[in-house]
């Protein structure tokens, strides 16, 4: 049964936004090997910053993108430098750092709850706990502004990361820091600075996604919990150590989550639509079972696809 064109439009948009979020997560894991379960909160922070600037200063969230990206990047650096790095330096295992990020996630949710309550009770913003700013969006030739801007941002992100990694000394330093951190240190690369900048970029990308997502989905204090599974599924699908894989993973997870559910709904009945959230989980389970290194581990050699080992 043919699906409505709007389904593919929204699926593409969701995939683009998820790709940006997953890229940031993969970047921080690639460098510091910390699975950051608080990553979704940088998205929420970006969304709330855009909302606050709009409510207080009537700034369209599109114009606040640069500021929110910088602030979210700075907050991510703060989390890394103040909390995670000291623990890592003391020899905390990865699982402990992961649990710490879970705690940071809860702290952020509480923080956003306080912000929402203040905005609701003091400033009388009735939608502070549940805001959607799609009414501020524009359209060109029937295409929503958020779709256009998101695609441009994603393409710009991919190009920028490619140039950064392949054409700059920093890129070389990052590659060395990822592959052999101790050796990189001995040849004078400031590995910790590389890690810090990766968290800055990761947080900025999440903030960027947050600035854009307010035009598509409602945001509240618990928003991060809505997405963290999908973000991880996208990163895992793409291969947790591949930035470009995260882009691909985000597109696959994002589009399939909507398209697959809609298609099944058209065949089996609307009751299936309530189980949309199961799609990224099932994909993640499948990847972990059959392709744990992600889709970027697949290499084509002599016409036969095989996994890289």
């Amino acid at each position: 049964m043919a699906l409505a064109p709007g389904i593919f439009t929204n699926a593409l948009l969701y995939g683009v936004l998820l790709s940006m979020m997953a890229t940031g997560l993969t970047l921080t894991y690639l460098t510091t090997k910390i699975p950051n379960f608080a990553h979704g909160n940088f998205v929420t922070l970006g969304a709330y910053l855009g909302y606050i600037l709009f409510k207080f200063y009537n700034v369209n969230p599109y114009y606040s993108i640069p500021l929110t990206a910088v602030v979210c990047g700075a907050v991510a650096v703060f989390v890394y430098r103040v909390v995670l790095r000291p623990l890592a330096n003391r020899g905390a295992p990865t699982i402990a750092l992961m649990i710490v990020t879970l705690a940071i996630n809860l702290l952020f949710i509480g923080f956003f709850g306080i912000i929402g309550d203040v905005l609701t009770n003091v400033y009388r913003f009735g939608d502070a706990d549940f805001f959607l700013l799609s009414r501020l969006d524009f359209s060109m030739s029937g295409i929503s502004g958020v779709m256009i801007v998101s695609l441009v941002c994603l393409i710009g992100t991919v190009v920028s990361i490619y140039l950064l990694l392949s054409k700059t000394n920093f890129g070389l330093a990052m590659t060395a820091s990822v592959e052999k951190p101790s050796l990189a240190e001995t040849i004078g690369i400031k590995v910790d600075r590389v890690y810090t900048i990766s968290w800055l970029i990761g947080g900025a990308l999440a903030g960027l996604a947050g600035s854009l997502i307010v035009f598509y989905l409602p945001v509240g204090p618990n928003f991060a919990n809505s997405f963290i599974i999908s973000i991880f599924a996208a990163s895992i699908l793409g291969g947790l150590t591949s930035i470009y894989g995260a882009v691909v993973g985000g597109m696959v997870i994002g589009t399939s989550q909507i398209v697959v559910t809609s298609y099944l709904g058209s065949i089996l009945g609307p009751w299936v639509l309530s189980y949309q959230a199961a799609v990224p989980i099932l994909i993640m389970v499948g990847v972990l079972l059959f392709l744990p290194a992600g889709i970027t581990s697949i290499s084509l050699s002599k016409g036969v696809a095989k996994r890289k080992t």
Partner: protein, 451 residues
């Protein structure tokens, strides 16, 4: 590979265990006559209000012991946070106003009895509400107001029954407990088994022979849908239903549902004609998100939308101009026209900056008066006595919501429903009364069209 298999199998087992755990655990009667209602408590105290146009006198006497009860605390369990926080916060303002009015009235009558409130936030969560009531019951509180969802009311009812507590719900309307035996729960807002009927009347009378329903998949939404489907089908209407699951984080993406609705709409329009199909969205404030996201599915904005979320300003903020485009309208229990209502309305707007609705202030205000009057009538804070006398007290009470008449199950009887539409007022989208549904004739009368 082995590590991947181990991790994958562990995740599957974890998901199955989690799923198993989760599975086991989830009319206004618009009068046209002037009447004076006199309520007498403990020997001569009176409250007088005037309603309507012609003159008649109704005297109601609630006798009490007359002696001081000291300070009696009423518990208020409200949704101050969570999904219904906007209703809960306004209800909090209303119960505080009512408390002040009751105590002021007692003071003018020379009574030394006073009432106090213990307000607790249940975060729109049934488990939290149960904890709240248990804590307050330990302090000797017997009478509770609020309990603003059917899930919350249901979850605390058995505890209340076991401990002789009285629950006065100000916003529970779910049909799952319609047929309960009269006990400790009284719902002073009309239940959903009535609320769907005005929608059926509206669609039928406007010529919409087919409806595409967007329904929140919980007892509230499905009960409301059922109350619409039966009379609508009886009137010859047909419908499609698309459900969505409530999400605690509130981050709704209705893409799949809207796509299905667009398909259903196209098929219905091909069968019944473009002008004979409408959309009925039954849920909470997230309906505004669906309406906003419907922009991607253009044909959905070419038909009228109806919704139960009348008076939700959050919905209008989220939906934006789409609410105007689809001529969004809906029904809500309508307070009887009276000076009491008008006076309360003006005070409430001045105090809160918000308009009171049946679930966002009006019923909460009446609940405090009803609780106080029942306690005074009993001459004690006895839950058993209040439970036995509440229906009689309510039947003789004219509040800001009109006559509060209860049926045999402890639910409010059917009242008229106000028909509300969306219009631009002073540059802001607002709900505006456009008519009413008469419970006795089941007819819609429009007084102000949205165009």
């Amino acid at each position: 590979m082995k590590t991947g298999v181990t991790i994958g199998v562990s995740v599957i087992i974890g998901l199955l265990i989690g799923a198993a755990v989760v599975y086991a655990a989830f009319p206004s009667t618009t009068t046209t006559s002037t009447s004076t209602i006199t309520t007498t408590v403990g020997g001569g105290s009176t409250i007088t209000t005037t309603i309507g146009g012609a003159t008649s006198t109704i005297t109601t006497t609630v006798t009490g012991a007359g002696s001081s009860l000291g300070t009696v605390t009423i518990g208020a369990i409200l949704d101050l946070t969570g999904d219904q926080a906007d209703y809960g916060q306004l209800s909090k303002s209303a119960v505080n106003m009512a408390l002040s009015d009751v105590n002021a009235w007692l003071a003018t009558q020379g009574s030394s009895t006073r009432f106090a409130l213990n307000i607790q936030d249940d975060a729109t969560d049934p488990a939290t509400a149960l904890t709240d009531i248990q804590n307050m019951a330990a302090q000797g509180i017997k009478i509770y107001v609020g309990l603003m969802t059917t899930g919350i009311a249901t979850n605390v009812l058995s505890y209340a029954t076991a401990n002789n507590l009285v629950l006065i719900s100000t916003a529970s309307t779910g049909t799952s407990i319609d047929n309960r035996t009269l006990g400790d729960l009284f719902r002073i807002v009309p239940p959903d088994n009535v609320e769907g009927v005005p929608f059926a009347s509206a669609l039928t009378q406007a010529g919409y022979t087919h409806a595409v329903l967007l329904v929140r998949n919980d007892p509230f939404g499905t009960g409301l849908a059922a109350s619409f489907e039966a009379p609508y089908t009886t009137d010859g209407g047909t419908y499609d239903v698309v459900q969505y699951t409530p999400i605690s984080t509130g981050s709704y993406d209705f893409t799949s549902q809207l796509g299905q609705m667009q398909s259903d709409l196209s098929a219905a329009q091909a069968t019944y004609g473009n002008s004979h199909v409408a959309i009925l969205a039954l849920g909470d404030a997230e309906i505004g998100v669906a309406l906003s996201q419907a922009s991607t599915f253009g044909s959905l904005l070419t038909v009228p939308w109806f919704t139960n979320q009348v008076s939700s300003t959050d919905l209008l903020t989220t939906a934006g101009n789409n609410a105007l485009t689809v001529k969004l309208s809906g029904f809500q229990p309508a307070p009887a026209a009276s000076t009491k209502y008008t006076q309360f309305y003006n005070r409430f707007v001045t105090a809160t900056g918000s308009v009171p609705g049946i679930f966002s202030g009006l019923a909460a205000y009446d609940s405090i008066w009803l609780a106080a009057l029942a306690i005074l009538a009993c001459g004690s804070n006895s839950g058993q006595c209040v439970q036995a006398s509440f229906s009689t007290v309510a039947d003789n009470y004219f509040g800001v919501t009109g006559w509060v008449q209860m049926n045999a199950n402890g639910d409010r009887t059917a009242t008229n429903y106000g028909d509300f539409g969306v219009q631009m007022v002073n540059g802001t989208l607002a709900w505006v009364p456009i008519g009413y549904w008469d419970a006795s004739t089941q007819q819609i009368t429009l007084t102000n069209s949205t165009g």
